[in-house]
Structure formats: structure tokens, C-alpha cells
Symmetry: C2
Subunit: 369 residues, 2 copies
């Protein structure tokens, strides 16, 4: 396989990198953000609208697609790209995270993770080999190894034992892969213990993965520990491989993590917040349901070039939200994802030009008015 990842430039004032990740469905400029397409759709977004806002790569959830409509069906229908009408790159998670957060009665063993479907209560066993098989059936460009996402307050004994299993599962995933054009990323666990993170990072780095992710962060440990453990761990990973901070997060977390050396991000925040009426602007967060916007003729963000801000007022967006209109979710999602993609544009531009004043500024909390 030719080099799938190239570091094009390094920032002079931080550890940030500008990179290019080549996949079977095209190249991705990094640092990049991946909108979450849980059930084979980024909620409320047409694929063509994702393209328009500059989306380069999506994330698909193995757990959801495995349960419904089923990975075998998606394989028969030509794979996930064709199924959901997206011909760009797709990364799939392993399903592990949802098993732990959604699956009832889960029981973890060396073999894998037994869980009951959140849809119908049916029992399933997710092993490392099964996670690879499902992701190969989906045909994603990047697959993730099965891991256990450890609660942030787990004991050291538990973290030690779980992380050891995650390493063994990662080796089993490598042995199970059959699809040469699908990249496979290892995941670093180790909780909040630096020595365990180091052990996991060094062991994973010795294995032939095409990229590495840091998991188990953004799960309630708080901002300080997220940034500290994230920065500590990313430093232990190979320079010549893409580094993905899973499930994080808020704009300020992403900026900080890019400067620490991470290349890839995913999070449900822009789309979930959109549906709840919380919108990101360069002046801060806006809760569009507030009465103060009822007669506000201004666009949500006067500095934003998205379809929503070019065509509609805050008063209209509030009306749609209050009236429970589907268009509310559509326009809000479009705007928030546009914001996140411009955030990544700005990060890449700051690295490319090498001027620290170009880094995007974004502070939370704060409501723009």
C-alpha cells in the first residue's frame, strides 16, 4: 500500500499539522471534522448539502447499522456509500462505544461484548472479528478496532485490565481484516492514567495500523483532564500516521486538540444542538428559542456565508423552532455543520500560513445577541 497519509506542513507555534489522508473514496485534508451519520444519514442533511458546506468525510455507526437495516443487507445493496448516496470517504466506528452507552445488559469477556439491542432486546455478541466483518460489509474507507470505552471514574485495576483486553482485541482485529483498501485504526485507551496511556500508545504504535485514535475522552472527565490526557497521549503517537480524537467535541476542544497534534474529529454536538435550537456563531452560542429573537431581523451570524444565514432571519429561525417545523432542524443543522467546517478551514489555514493570530477564536459559554 502506498503512503495513505502525508504531513504537508507543521505549525511553528504549536504541534498542529496540516495533512492529507488518502482513502479509497478520495482524499481528506486534515485537520478535519466528520459529521456523524448514525443511522446511514447525517440527521436532516441531504448528501448534496453536506458536499456544499465542504464536508469531506462522514462517520457511520456500526452498532446502529448492524442492528438496522443490517450490515449484510447494506453489503448486498452495494455498501454504505451507495446505500446512503455519499460517494466521499466514510469512517465507521467499531460499535463498541454504542454497546457500552446504549446496549442493555451488556457483558464483557475476553471473547467480546454481549449486549441486548436497544431496539428489540435481541441478544448479540460483538467480537473483534465481528466488528471487522461488519465494517468490511459496510465497505467504509476507515474501520476502527473494537475497544472498550472506559468510564472516566474507573479504578486503576479496571483500566489496566480493560486496556490490556483492548490491546489484545486490536491484534485480533488486525488478524481478521480481509479488505486491503480499508484502512484500520487502532484506539488508545488507558483512562486518566498517564502510564497506562503510554503503555497502550506504545503497544498500539508497534502494530501495523494506518492510523491511531484516542478514545475514552470527552466522557465526563472535565475539560482540564480532557486536554491534558489528550495532549499527553497524542505526543506518544507516530508523526507519520493520522491521529483521531474520538467523539470530541466543542469548538474550543477541537481547536485545542488540533494545536496538540490531532488530525481528525467527530462529534454529534453540531447536529444534536441544532435540533435543540442551540446554534454556533463566531460571536458565541445562540439559543434560538429565546423570546429576544422573536422580532430580530438579523441573520443568525452576519459573518456567516451559509445558506441559512444568507436567506433567513433570527425571527424566522425562532418561529420555525417554536412551531416545531422540520425546516428548523434542516436549517439549524446546515448552519452548525457549516460553522464546524469553517472552524476546520481556519485551523488548516492558520497552520498553512504559520501565523498564530489566524487561529480561530471561540469561547464558551456566551450567548450572542
Amino acid at each position: 500500500m502506498t503512503a495513505h497519509f502525508t504531513v504537508l506542513a507543521k505549525d511553528s507555534v504549536s504541534k498542529a499539522r496540516l495533512g492529507r489522508l488518502v482513502t479509497a473514496h478520495g482524499a481528506v485534508e486534515t485537520p478535519c471534522f466528520m459529521p456523524v451519520g448514525t443511522q446511514g444519514t447525517v440527521k436532516a442533511m441531504l448528501p448534496r448539502d453536506l458536499r456544499e458546506i465542504g464536508c469531506q468525510i462522514l462517520l457511520g455507526n456500526t452498532y446502529h447499522l448492524y442492528l438496522r437495516p443490517g450490515h449484510e443487507l447494506i453489503r448486498e445493496l452495494g455498501g454504505l456509500h451507495r446505500f446512503m448516496g455519499w460517494d466521499g470517504p466514510i469512517l465507521t466506528d467499531s460499535g463498541g462505544y454504542q454497546v457500552f452507552s446504549l446496549g442493555a445488559m451488556r457483558k464483557i469477556s475476553e471473547d467480546g461484548s454481549c449486549f441486548q439491542s436497544h431496539l428489540d432486546g435481541s441478544s448479540h455478541l460483538l467480537t473483534p472479528e465481528k466488528a471487522v466483518e461488519i465494517q468490511e460489509a459496510l465497505g467504509s474507507d476507515i474501520a476502527m478496532v473494537l475497544d472498550e470505552c472506559i468510564p472516566h471514574d474507573a479504578t486503576r485495576d479496571y483500566v489496566l485490565s480493560s486496556t490490556g483486553r483492548t490491546i489484545r482485541w486490536a491484534e485480533r482485529c488486525l488478524n481478521a481484516r480481509r479488505k486491503p483498501d480499508q484502512l484500520l485504526f487502532g484506539i488508545i485507551q488507558g483512562g486518566l492514567f498517564e502510564d497506562l496511556r503510554r503503555w497502550c500508545a506504545e503497544t498500539m504504535s508497534s502494530l501495523p495500523f494506518e492510523g491511531f485514535a484516542v478514545g475514552g475522552l470527552g466522557v465526563g472527565e472535565g475539560e482540564a483532564r480532557l486536554h491534558r490526557i489528550g495532549a499527553f497521549t497524542v505526543d506518544l503517537l507516530p508523526q507519520e500516521r493520522p491521529r483521531y480524537l474520538m467523539g470530541v467535541g466543542r469548538p474550543q476542544d477541537i481547536i485545542s486538540a488540533v494545536r496538540a497534534g490531532f488530525d481528525m474529529f467527530d462529534c454529534v454536538i453540531p447536529t444534536r444542538n441544532a435540533r435543540n435550537g442551540t446554534l454556533f456563531t463566531w460571536q458565541g452560542k445562540v439559543n434560538i428559542k429565546r423570546a429576544e429573537f422573536a422580532a430580530d431581523p438579523r441573520p443568525l451570524d452576519e459573518t456567516c456565508g451559509c445558506y441559512c444565514c444568507r436567506n433567513f432571519s433570527r425571527a424566522y429561525l425562532r418561529h420555525l423552532y417554536v412551531a416545531g417545523e422540520i425546516l428548523s432542524s434542516q436549517l439549524n443543522s446546515l448552519h452548525n455543520l457549516y460553522f464546524y467546517h469553517r472552524l476546520m478551514d481556519k485551523c488548516r489555514e492558520a497552520i498553512r500560513v504559520g501565523r498564530s493570530e489566524l487561529w480561530p477564536q471561540w469561547n464558551e459559554p456566551g450567548t450572542a445577541t
Copy 2:
């Protein structure tokens, strides 16, 4: 005012007409279909997607916009076009229909109609003058007079008395209008009684309206009476004015009404059915939630050129519906409205070319497979 409506061609084998209706926001080729934008949005459709499918004119609901966000607010924000980001023609109804179908505790008198809001129970009086005032505040291109939509099983005495009041209300609307560039249409009531329809049509036709609508049909009277009374009434209306059949309806009803001489239509069927998973194809109706489509790789309608049919399989559309995804409503609405607009294209083409075999064929019921 210059002539706002021109009959461009008449069909040789039916009473259908090809026409051009000029409004303050542009011209409309007739026969035309108006998607319903109840609360200032055609549900689940971006305005640019409405443009793309060939939508020429929208319908806005005065009752809903009056109650929320309020017509004065919309006026302050620059009118309904600007509020909802649609710069093409808009027709508003008078609010009367929703007062009768949604408003609680309604009480009708010569003055107007008293009703309680379905949102908060607040009391309101809708008079002919108020209906004109609201529609002028909204700034629609075409306003409708206040009328009473009579139940199909009303007694002759009631229909006689109600229709007389509708005529007096229409005259009051004419006297109340202040906006010279807003067209005003009269509405023909008269129930299922041909002599009362004739009386109403002849009286309304003597008044200086820019167009005429036939109301009180498609309200449960059945297909045979809908077609009979519709065809009878449209024949009594001036040739040189646009004729609008309100709230009708199914594709076969529209084809029949176009051939009877109607020019304009609106109905919630394409968008409401879309959200319920019922889709229109040139092979019949498809209930996309059926298990038979679970693994069907074909597009919904292989003969359809819409974004939905060009990019997605029936299996995917079924998955989105079953999973309760917002994208289901988006793609289904886009398709059904595309279908309705192609239906109108075909009607116009059949009249233009003057060949009866070009008329669209569409039969219901029937499920395509």
C-alpha cells in the same frame, strides 16, 4: 391594472386552458399546483429545493401565520416572501377554512367568525376586513376573500343562507382592499346545489375580482360529486380570469379538473402523504414502509428524475422511514412535490400540443411493486 391573466391556448378535446398569470413576484404558467406552506414553510423543503423541482407559486395559511408569529411581525420583517426566503409568487388563503376546521368554539355571524386559537385558546374575530388586512400585511401576491366552507351534508336552507353571507363578505373584502398590486380572488360556494352554485358564481363574476375560486369541494362529498359540481361551476366562471379549485387534491382529481377548465390547485396531499410514507409514482402509489421494500435496490420510480430517485433505493427510503429519520420526510416530500409538478407539466404540454394521448394517466388505488 394591465391584464394579469392570459389564456395562451385552449385544448381541442377538453375545456382545459394553458394560461399565464402575472403577479407582483413574477409570472405563473397555468395549470399550476401550489405546495402548501402552512406555517411559513412547505414542510421539510428548503426554498431552493422548491425552485429546483419547478415550483412556481406557494400557498400560505393566513390562519396559522396570524396566530403565530403574527401578521404584524411578518409585515415588520418585510413581508412573508422575505420572512420565508421565497421570492416567487405566494397566494394566501383567507383563514376561513382553518377557522372552521381547527378553531374551537367558533361562532359565525354577519360580522365575521369568532373562534378560539387551537394554540392557546385565545379568542379572535375574523371579519372580511380583517382577512384582507392580514393578507395585505403578509404581502401575498394573491389574496382570497373570507368565505365559509360549508360542510357537504349541510341542508339547503343552511347553504342558501351561508352562501348569501359569503357573497356579502366578498363585497366587503373588495371594499376593504388597499393594496393595488395584490390580486384578490372571489370564492364560489353553494354546496352541492347547482342552482345555488349558479347564483353564487354569477354574482361573484359580476364583481371586480382578478380571479375566482371554487370552494367547499373535496370535503367528503365523494369523487363523483366533486367532479360533477366542480365541472358545473367552473363553466359558469369568466373565461378571461384564472379559476382555482381549492384544496383538491389527488392526481386524478387534478387531471379531471384541469380538463374541466380549472387553472390552479393546492393540496396538502403530496407533503402530508410524504411524511406518512405514501409516495406517488407513475406506476401508482407506493407505501414505502412495507416489508417488501426492505431489500429493494431499485429507485422509487425508475422513470422519475428527482434527486431522491436519482440517488437512493427503495430499501434506503424504507430504512429512513422505519428509523424515524428526518431525511425520510425530506426525500419523500421532495419526490412527491416533484411528481405533482411533473403532473402539471404534462397537463400543460398536452394542452399546448393538443394531443389527447399526451394527457397524464394516473389511477388510484394501486400499489406499484
